[in-house]
């Protein structure tokens, strides 16, 4: 269920800063995650998402700023906090010699209270692999096992760091279903991703992170509608680079124009108004179209508009 804006905060981050030897990973970052919502940190690799989430998980200490989780703080309530969080790290390899059930049972033994091993294995649909060694699992199965180990302590707050990176589409959907189920039971989720479709599909609210700062915050719909564009038109012609940006911006309904990889992307109010004039203009210049696509604006377009870069450039 979508969290109401009056729900108490599950996570509150203020003025977070973390610098490594030669680079500032997180810079004056603020976040608020409400109880019961699924919150996404969206950004390219190196944006500071993992550093932020690991500070929240108590694995890194910040250079400055405060983190309050479920009303507690790491310095004061570390042990109490750990038993209420479920964590999946970006890259953890569980012991390959143990079976699925043994791995979950091991993690269960760390928590004073939690779910039963069978229940969690059922939840991530690994029943048939109960007795299989971890080393024999596929990438998607390993990732679901990692989520099972995160869920077995019956957490109130679940941190997932790039849970579906590198997975095939079916495995991604299976993980999305698990996260949906957790949220439907009232659990709070914070996840990082550089997939826009994942953020749009899963998250109640999204913070777009770049260079260690939050550059946009809101529901996926709010962020997309902030562009004020009804459609995005992508087209390519022979000699795309010879077209002047100003000439495109002068066309009816065009709000922004950007050249990337030899084709232009136009954010427009309505595709059916702009496309005819665009075609006329190109014909008048003697430039035959090599491609033409339209799509509804996505979080990718939001990111591009805000940063001038594509999420995938660095991915």
């Amino acid at each position: 269920m979508p969290a109401s804006s009056t729900a108490p905060l599950a996570l509150s981050v203020r003025g977070l800063r973390k610098a490594y030897a030669d680079v500032v990973a997180v810079d004056a970052l603020d976040l608020e995650v409400r109880t019961g919502e699924c919150f996404g940190l969206l950004g390219p690799n190196g944006a500071g998402k993992t550093t932020t989430i690991e500070i929240c998980e108590g694995l890194l200490s910040p250079d400055a700023g405060t983190v309050e989780i479920l009303g507690m703080q790491w310095a004061r309530d570390g042990n109490a906090l750990r038993s209420r969080l479920g964590i999946q790290l970006q890259e953890t390899l569980l012991s390959e010699k143990l079976t699925v059930a043994e791995s979950v049972k091991l993690f269960r033994s760390f928590y004073p209270a939690g779910r039963s091993v069978d229940e969690v294995i059922g939840l991530v649909q690994l029943d048939e692999k109960r007795r299989a060694r971890v080393g024999t699992l596929s990438g998607g199965q390993k990732q679901r096992l990692a989520v099972a180990c995160a869920l077995v302590g019956d957490p109130d707050l679940l941190f997932l760091d790039e849970p579906t990176t590198g997975l095939d589409p079916q495995s991604r959907r299976q993980l999305w279903d698990i996260i949906d189920k957790f949220r439907s039971e009232g659990g709070t989720t914070v996840l990082t991703t550089h997939y826009m479709d994942e953020a749009e599909r899963l998250c109640d609210r999204v913070a777009i992170v770049d260079h260690g700062r939050v550059i946009a915050l809101g529901t996926p719909r709010e962020l997309i509608s902030s562009l004020g564009a009804g459609h995005v038109i992508e087209f390519g012609v022979d000699g795309s680079r010879e077209i002047d940006e100003a000439a495109l911006l002068a066309l009816a309904g065009v709000k922004s124009a950007r050249l990337a990889g030899g084709s232009w992307a136009l954010q427009v109010g309505a595709a059916h108004e702009t496309i005819p004039v665009l075609l006329q203009t190109l014909e008048a210049r003697g430039m035959p179209l090599t491609e033409l696509r339209t799509h509804s604006p996505t979080l990718e377009d939001v990111f591009v508009t805000l940063t001038g870069r594509s999420l995938r450039d660095d991915a």
């Binding site: 042990n79 750990r82 790290l89 953890t92 569980l94 143990l98 033994s109 004073p112 209270a113 039963s116």
Partner: protein, 358 residues
């Protein structure tokens, strides 16, 4: 309305204590790795068996000598051929010189016309010096020499003084070191490299219980390791067990913990198996060489002894030998035990201070 998660029933039963699950995981990771089982249990026994056979006590070997031809009619040839323990080849001068040079014979005897005898041999070869004594004695007796003092020989082969008796405690010490350092070191560095340590400290797991699970695992394996190697030595080669078994058990447990602490210290920082492996070799190589596994550490110069005696494996080997071969009192092994306990305390203290979980 948000569900109130705090009111949901949480399962607090159906849970095994973490230390039990952690220790079980150590066992599972071990016995599901057949190679590890081989190196810990089978290899030391094969090594002890091989060494026991190679260095078994053989009856005294006959002394091979040559008598230069041209003197075949000399009575000395007959008396030498009749002496027990001397094998005589009669060769011409060139062949005799050749045989001496290539080590086929230890000594060349040339009887001279004036009745004197010439011995040709290399004074640097122990068997040649022995041959000279044996041959000279036979020659002098044949010449009529009498022993002024009558003697009687009683031959013994004392259990506890053979090479196999020396090497079995050494192999046991080496095995305790190897499995302590490798068994703990590699497992921890591997878990760090896989980011498993980082994942574990994100749970409420007690770090002390995690490290303790390695020690429980080591101590359980210890019983099997010690029993199989000592059992093999005792049953197959009759290696003595003269000391108290309680003392032996305490030496083994303290040694295993000390080497476990050393393994933990080595594994405190490295992020790669290669890095840890280099450190382990650096630590273990001097002990393989100096600590008296295959030959006595007393063979090294006196100036090096303080260093050698301070090595944990030297103390372990000395204590094991004192217990098994001499049936030593507590006072005798006290010094060694003190060295072992010092290593144990220092390694654990440093390891816990330096340990990196990420």
């Amino acid at each position: 309305m948000t569900l109130d998660r705090s009111k949901r029933a949480r399962n607090t039963t159906d849970n095994t204590p973490a230390i039990v699950e952690l220790t079980l995981s150590r066992f599972r990771e071990f016995y599901r790795e057949p190679e590890a089982v081989f190196w810990v249990f089978i290899f030391p026994i094969l090594l002890a068996g091989g060494l026991g056979i190679a260095f078994r006590n053989r009856p005294a070997e006959a002394t091979h000598i040559a008598v230069a031809r041209g003197a075949t009619n000399s009575p000395i040839v007959d008396s030498l051929q009749n002496s027990t323990g001397i094998v005589v080849d009669v060769l011409d001068d060139t062949a005799a010189a050749n045989a001496l040079r290539t080590g086929k014979v230890a000594l060349v005897v040339t009887p001279r016309a004036d009745g004197s005898v010439e011995y040709r041999f290399d004074d640097a070869r122990p068997e040649s010096r022995t041959a000279r004594m044996v041959v000279d004695r036979a020659v002098q007796r044949a010449g009529g020499q009498q022993d002024p003092v009558p003697v009687a020989d009683t031959k013994v082969s004392e259990r506890g003084s053979r090479y196999i008796d020396f090497v079995v405690p050494g192999l046991l010490g080496m095995n305790l070191m190897g499995s302590g350092i490798w068994g703990i070191g590699f497992a921890i560095v591997d878990a760090r490299k896989k980011k498993l340590l980082k994942r574990l400290i994100a749970t409420p797991m007690s770090k002390a219980e995690y490290l303790a699970s390695f020690l429980f695992f080591r101590l359980s394996l210890l019983v099997v390791e010690v029993a199989s190697l000592i059992g093999f030595g005792t049953l197959v080669f009759g290696v003595p067990l003269r000391g108290s078994l309680t003392q032996l058990a305490i030496i083994c447990v303290l040694s295993s913990l000390a080497f476990g602490g050393l393994g933990l210290l080595i594994a405190a920082r490295p992020r790669t198996i290669e890095g840890a492996s280099g450190l382990m070799n650096l630590v273990m190589l001097p002990m393989w060489v100096f600590s008296g596994v295959f030959f006595s550490s007393g063979n090294f110069p006196k100036a090096a002894q303080p260093f050698i005696q301070a090595l944990p494996l030297t103390a372990v080997n000395d204590a094991l030998r004192a217990n098994m071969l001499q049936g030593a009192s507590w006072g005798t092994v006290g010094g060694e035990l003190a060295i072992i306990v010092t290593w144990l305390v220092v390694c654990f203290t440093l390891a816990l201070r330096l340990f990196r979980w990420r």
